[in-house]
């Protein structure tokens, strides 16, 4: 049976976790190597940029940081702050990023307490 094409969340295709569930009870799908929004600086990562964490293919750290800087919503900033806080990333990363993303990371480093509103999840995936 063909699935219905229904706008869910913010326009990202999803797999609902059963027939009577809410949009937040879903698996959100993003496509590799594509820009999700026209305003994005970079496309989503490729599937070669993964590492197996507990046997589960997971985006590697560099691709994940790029993605978070590219999308850059409040919750992405919060995730970046967490990564800075636990020293997964630091200012040395500035040199290995595209300029636009590097400027965003610098902004996070310079303002560690900003942007703490609107952190609750939105089903947009990034």
């Amino acid at each position: 049976m063909l699935s219905l094409f229904t706008k869910v969340g913010k326009g990202i295709p999803v797999f609902m976790d059963g027939p009577d569930t809410k949009a937040r009870d879903a698996v959100h799908i993003l496509f590799a190597n594509e820009k999700v929004r026209q305003s994005d600086f970079i496309p989503t990562p490729g599937l070669h940029e993964t590492e197996a964490i507990d046997s589960i293919p997971t985006l590697n750290l560099e691709a994940l940081v790029r993605t978070k800087l590219n999308v850059f919503r409040d919750k992405d900033k919060m995730h970046l702050r967490d990564m800075l806080d636990v020293e997964l990333i630091d200012a040395e990363w500035l040199t290995r990023l595209p300029q636009e993303l590097s400027e965003r990371l610098q902004q996070i480093i310079d303002n560690p307490e900003d942007g703490l509103e609107g952190m609750l999840d939105e089903p947009t995936g990034s």
Binding site: P13, H28, E49, I53, L61, H79
Partner: protein, 157 residues
């Protein structure tokens, strides 16, 4: 208290459009709200909404039930991820965990105390694999929904 109210306001489940008007289903969610009228009765939102100053939120779910709810919320996400992995991997569909769950995995490498919960399960796949992913995921009782009015076809080929 303001932080609690703010948390509800930020949660789209409750649709608090402002502190003056409440629309969330208080009783159905086990939450009761009171308003600022002197000696006025408590009102729940399944009654007619009205404009008033929301000053207090009572939590009627407490103790083990409350902890159970919070734990189930986390377990639900974990199980959804496990079902997804157990579906896509045997179908030979390349994928990667992305988004907040990927952040959790990486942050946990450094400091488990810094790990945050999330309700998002975000998966990266190749567009060309979507038709196969739909078949596999629907066989696992997920229900696919794509985008309306988009020229790209997300449905089965």
């Amino acid at each position: 208290m303001q932080r609690i109210i703010q948390a509800f306001r930020l949660n789209p489940k409750y649709r608090l459009s402002s502190l003056k008007t409440q629309r969330f289903k208080g009783q159905a969610c086990g939450i009761r709200t009171r308003y600022a009228e002197p000696n006025g009765p408590s009102r729940c939102s399944n009654q007619e909404p009205r404009t008033s100053n929301l000053t207090h939120v009572d939590f009627t779910i407490t103790g083990d039930e409350l902890w159970g709810r919070m734990n189930r919320a986390v377990e639900k996400i974990q199980k959804r991820l496990e079902r997804t992995v157990a579906t896509l991997a045997p179908a030979d569909i390349p994928f990667a965990v992305i988004g907040a769950l990927a952040v959790r995995a990486w942050v946990a490498q450094a400091d488990e105390a810094a790990v945050r919960t999330t309700r998002d399960v975000d998966i990266l796949i190749n567009r060309g694999d979507l038709p196969r992913a739909i078949v596999a995921m629907e066989n696992a009782e997920f229900v696919y929904k794509g985008r309306k009015g988009n020229s790209r076809v997300y449905g089965r080929a």
